[in-house]
Symmetry: none
Subunit: 248 residues, 2 copies
DNA sequence: CGTTTCAATATGTATATACATAATCGCCAT
DNA sequence: ATGGCGATTATGTATATACATATTGAAACG
């Protein structure tokens, strides 16, 4: 009814008001319209603007605060934070969940898919001793409009034959592999790197900008399954891992 | 109601009910008490258990869903999700051991040592709510002739009073703290960064060269102990972490 | 016997309200 | 002036309530 009537776009898109406030503000921040340090409207002002209750506004703002986009100060208001703090967890690395945890729409796009006989480099990455068929995939993960991560993956077709039949147009290789192939061991390598031209191009960042690189090799019962390299723009990504000694 | 009365340790720490529900459930899941697929209590059951309104329960569950720990299905209930955490193993690394493993001679050099009352930034890094004395240390770790890592550390003197008497000229803060302070929890943040001039100078690399930054916060029994930031030149360092799925 | 319909149920979203808490501003007294 | 103190203000948390929506299970129907 009159609740959703703040001029809808002609899509008739029926997203929740809460989502609408959230993305409105996020857009303002990410587009730079509201620079870091800028004070965003008070809850009661947003309440008036969107013609809704304070609880609804509050929930949206709390969410933005938890995502690290804004900082809230009692009696003073809410302020756009310095860009940082995109949080992710090292544990299982499902990019969709990472992105959605930030409250951003997730999108996946396959860039390339090549089936070939493994060369020396492929074998080194996968840890194979003998040549064999491999599938090389390159894809992009988006958070909203921006590229979030570039994925470069090798799949050992000797270990996962069914992958040869999959196009990976609609599903990312990570989720596809999970559940299909029980993994027994994995190794992460994490490092920093300057973006070369190809990477900078794909991620839409400056050439030689610093990137965080996470590589993972996975084995299943001694057989190499896959090698994947995720490349994140430095400013958009921080890995977070929390430990407690021994017992979980 | 017996649930709510666990009542405060003598810190008077009064966390919100919402936080309490959240961590209760998270603990159940992460400890394995509630396995993947398990149906967690309905909102109205939790409402009864915690003697609170549905909104409060709903907020907590929504948050868990957004974090990817549970999945919510209308009419059916909420269920623990599949991908259980692999206990992340990035051990607290000792730089001396890293360097010596490379077969290079290790050397440590303290650059600065300042005792001060914690400012806002110090408190943010350590996670302190009230001001108090802290020790700020800056040191360099060498591998052979070359700087291997720059260390910037804060020690909470309220938690580790003896550190105030130590000069840290001959022993690095890391090894000094280990063994003296049993830690109960740690959080790592890993990211890439371009070196600013100060860092480039200390590490003897080009300005704006990519660096790997590892930050760690450590707590002992709820008390913040130390915050440390290691900055490595990108080309000299890769973190390696190896997991085996935590059997459960 | 299969299909359609409908009511029951659990979650999703929103409202109005209330009181707590922290930070700030301005007033007042020294 | 100036240092302290109370009033004001914005956020933090919780409540009770309402209705929407998706899904399920069972009843009604052809």
């Amino acid at each position: 009814m009159s609740l959703v009537e703040t001029d809808d776009i002609e899509g008739g898109e029926s997203i929740s008001l809460h989502q609408r406030i959230l993305s409105d503000i996020r857009d303002k921040i990410l587009s730079g319209a509201w620079a870091p340090g800028h004070r965003i409207p008070f809850e009661h002002e947003l309440t008036a603007q969107y013609n809704c209750s304070r609880m609804t506004v509050n929930k949206a703002l709390s969410q933005l605060a938890k995502a690290g986009l804004i900082e809230r100060r009692r009696r003073s208001g809410s302020f756009v934070r310095q860009p940082q703090s995109q949080a992710a967890v090292l544990e299982l690395h499902d990019i969709r969940i990472e992105v959605e945890a930030l409250g951003l729409p997730y999108r996946y796009e396959r860039l390339a898919r090549i089936k070939r006989r493994s060369g020396a480099e492929d074998r080194a990455l996968l840890g194979l001793s003998a040549p064999g068929p491999v599938l090389a995939l390159e894809s992009l993960h988006f958070a909203g409009e921006r590229p979030f991560a570039l994925e470069q993956r090798l799949i050992n077709l000797s270990a996962v034959a069914e992958a040869a039949e999959e196009e990976f147009l609609d599903i990312a290789p990570g989720p596809w592999l999970i559940g299909r192939v029980p993994w027994s061991e994995a190794e992460h390598r994490i490092r920093a790197m300057a973006a070369d031209e190809t990477i900078a191009d794909a991620l839409d960042i400056d050439a030689s900008a610093p990137c965080l690189v996470v590589e993972r090799r996975t084995w299943s019962a001694e057989h190499p399954v896959t090698h994947v390299r995720f490349i994140y723009p430095a400013e958009s990504h921080t890995l977070v891992a929390r430990f407690t000694p021994s017992q979980g």
